[in-house]
């Protein structure tokens, strides 16, 4: 009889869990995914993820960052620092890109901020893109981050990408531009010069007409 009661209780609990989980549209619960972290770090990360959700920010990148840190052998303190830093960047990116920013844009924006782009550059990129009829800025943000990572000064990288966005460059052309700059740098070109030179060419080929 005791066992029967336990089974009944389990059925009830399981039903509740499945209903809640279905309502939340959740993947594997984060508690499960973060199981490899020590409990104190896990608790902090989960709390930050909850805060993000309350702030209407994407929480998934925070969990991803913690998992990344864990895999890279970082200790709990370093993981928490990274997650907190990312949280701040996500919030700033969302503020700069606007309330209608998608998760992918916010992620890419956070990366750009982390690379050193000032918040106002993100806002300018959004504005320029909207005027050019572009819906999303995920790819331009990814490209500007890459330029900075390869040694193009922030101001130059930002100017270059802004000008291309204003010219109405499409994602495929942005990708090609990034590839060309990368190749030039790999062959020994000065990063700034490569970026500016290739941007001129891309702006000529790109644009709303093509």
């Amino acid at each position: 009889m005791r066992r029967a009661r336990a089974d009944v209780l389990l059925a009830v609990v399981a039903s509740c869990v499945s209903l809640f989980a279905a309502a939340a549209g959740a993947q594997a619960p984060n508690e499960v995914r973060l199981a490899r972290l020590d409990s104190s770090t896990r608790t902090t990360v989960l709390a930050l993820a909850d805060s993000a959700r309350r702030d209407h920010l994407p929480s998934e990148p925070l969990v991803d960052k913690a998992l990344e840190g864990s895999q890279k052998g970082a200790d709990g303190a370093r993981i928490v620092t990274a997650v907190r830093g990312l949280y701040a960047e996500l919030r700033t990116a969302r503020a700069a890109l606007g309330a209608s920013a998608s998760t992918d844009e916010i992620n890419a924006g956070a990366n750009a901020l982390h690379a050193g782009l000032p918040m106002r550059n993100l806002a300018q990129l959004r504005s320029a893109s909207q005027h050019a009829g572009r819906a999303r800025v995920t790819v331009p943000l990814t490209v500007v981050t890459d330029l900075v990572a390869r040694g193009v000064p922030v101001a130059v990288a930002s100017d270059v990408v802004l000008s291309l966005a204003r010219a109405g460059l499409r994602d495929a052309d942005f990708t090609m531009f990034q590839r060309n700059v990368r190749l030039d740098i790999e062959r020994g070109a000065d990063a700034s010069t490569a970026a500016q030179t290739r941007a001129r060419g891309a702006a000529l080929r790109g644009g709303r007409s093509s």
Binding site: R5, P29, N30, K65, G69
Partner: protein, 200 residues
């Protein structure tokens, strides 16, 4: 009981034990069906919520039924309330939790290539596989001449990833946009998979 000649049986069995191979498209046929099915979601929890046979007394079953009904009604109300709240919020359908979008977003095949002539093992890790280096579907194969590649299904959208060589060396994708990830001292690459978010 009649005796069975062992040698005779062995000859028959040896023939029947010869390996058999299925057609080249077998795997694709199976996976096409699998992809069309609702995805699993809950991991180890699935076993907890699978249907179980319960044998209980009529009294207990009545109580259980009433309890279940009460819980279901209250949870259902909660879900309804939550969904209404979400739908009416101006931000609800926008900056959505990428947890939902990552795992329900359409996946597209992406080829990852790394030239690493002295590597013995090359793995792709990223936010699309929890940065876990044991995912076999992201394990690169050596194609010859130091070229390693793998094509795997990645959800649409923006991702960060890296290669892990020989389970120890983290290498960015030389051909991909970089991310200045100095959080953990090891850089990453960025990937935008077209379809959901990108385009004009």
């Amino acid at each position: 009981m009649r005796s069975i000649p062992e040698r005779w049986i062995n000859r028959v069995v040896a023939e029947l034990r010869r390996p058999v191979r299925v057609g080249d498209d077998f795997d694709d046929k199976v996976m096409n069906v699998v992809r069309g099915m609702p995805p699993h979601r809950f991991g180890a929890w699935s076993r907890a919520i699978r249907p179980r046979t319960i044998t209980i007394s009529p009294l207990l079953s009545g109580i259980a039924a009433a309890l279940l009904l009460a819980v279901t009604l209250s949870v259902g109300h909660l879900i309804g309330a939550t969904r209404t709240a979400r739908a009416s919020s101006p931000r609800a359908d926008l900056a959505s939790d990428r947890g939902g979008s990552t795992h329900t977003a359409k996946r597209r095949p992406v080829q990852f290539v790394l030239v690493a002539p002295t590597a013995r093992k090359v793995q792709v890790v990223g936010d699309f596989n929890d940065w876990d280096a044991t995912h076999e579907e992201f394990r690169a194969q050596h194609r010859g001449g130091g070229v390693w590649s793998v094509t795997a299904a990645v959800p649409e959208g923006h991702h960060r990833y890296s290669f892990v060589v020989d389970d120890s060396v983290w290498v960015t994708d030389p051909t991909a946009p970089r991310v200045l990830d100095d959080d953990f001292g090891l850089p990453n690459s960025a990937l935008v998979v077209e379809g959901g978010d990108v385009g004009r």
